[in-house]
Amino acid sequence: MISMKRCIGVALGMLIVLDSFLYLQAKTKLDHVAQDTTILYRSPDKTNTIGPPDGFNSSSIKVDITRKSNKGWVVRYAAKNCEFCRADEPRWNQMSADLQRLGYSVIFIVPQASEAYPDNSLALMGTREEVYVNLEWVKRFRLSMTPTLLIFAPDQKLLWFHQGALGPADPASAFRTIELWNHNVGR
């Protein structure tokens, strides 16, 4: 009887160690994927600059991508029916408002017309949505995961990106990078 109890105790102990190890492995792999440039860039040359994507909305009207100030811009690749996009929406909404306060314009890109957000969607607050995007822009990146967030500096270089739902530490990481960039170029 006691040996059976001991067996279960040992099995429990081993499983706890195994699960902790597997959890750390999964977390490390997810973090790696979220920041993996070889997945994001179709073109290996990532020193190139690129302007904001120009495109059309679901009503085939050209989206105005003129920047309000000499600040950077943000591209959020997301879809109406994507559950990970819905899951990180509260965090994204806060981040989007903060980015807009810093002068960054936010452009939503959806994978296809059927994934466009309704006009009055909270997710789109103060942002613009593109359904049909210039291929010149599309061919530079492999947008294969929703949501993906790309933040571009005023010098048109990619400053920060994240593939997958935003985690608790991501907004702080993004704003730290923006701050660092501002500090380095003296703005």
Binding site: I8, L12, D19, F56, P111, A113, N134, L135, K139
Partner: protein
Amino acid sequence: MKKKFVADLFLGIILVALLGFYSIRLAWSIHSIRQWSQAARSADRSSDLVFQSEAGISVWGDPVYPVSAKQAQRTIVFLLHGDKIGSDLAFWHRVKLLVPSDAGLRLVGYCDGIVCADAVRHEANRSDFPVIAYGEVISSQALINADAKGNSILRSEQWLHSKNIKWHTPMSTPSIVVQEALK
């Protein structure tokens, strides 16, 4: 005493089963993440992005709509390259000429950038097929991936999967493309 032992044993077994199930789920997640990142990294060679629809905005600014199965049984989509736009357009104009008018085959081109779009706009004779400059991201990426292997995409509303047809390889000619598309 015995009751307590049985209850502990039962609880222990349930915990072992739960943790075992959690281990399997975690291991499966790690496997899926690894597979996904490998597939995403090699998207130019083997991608699971599927061309969805030839909806977009043409180089002239008009909307291009996907056609229904009644209007065309098949559609062939291809990427036009700014750095060899003259030969690309000549190739596809020739394809268009070779397609019998009752074949139900529609041609839709996509421009890979501003050089291509400008060239198409300045063509003496406006192309006899739509050329998209702004497309849906999924379909544009699927086409860019296919094009990296020299392919165009042949699709039909009635098919479950689209087909690839080689076109910008030394062996490809407009007549071979037409034969393949009408097969």
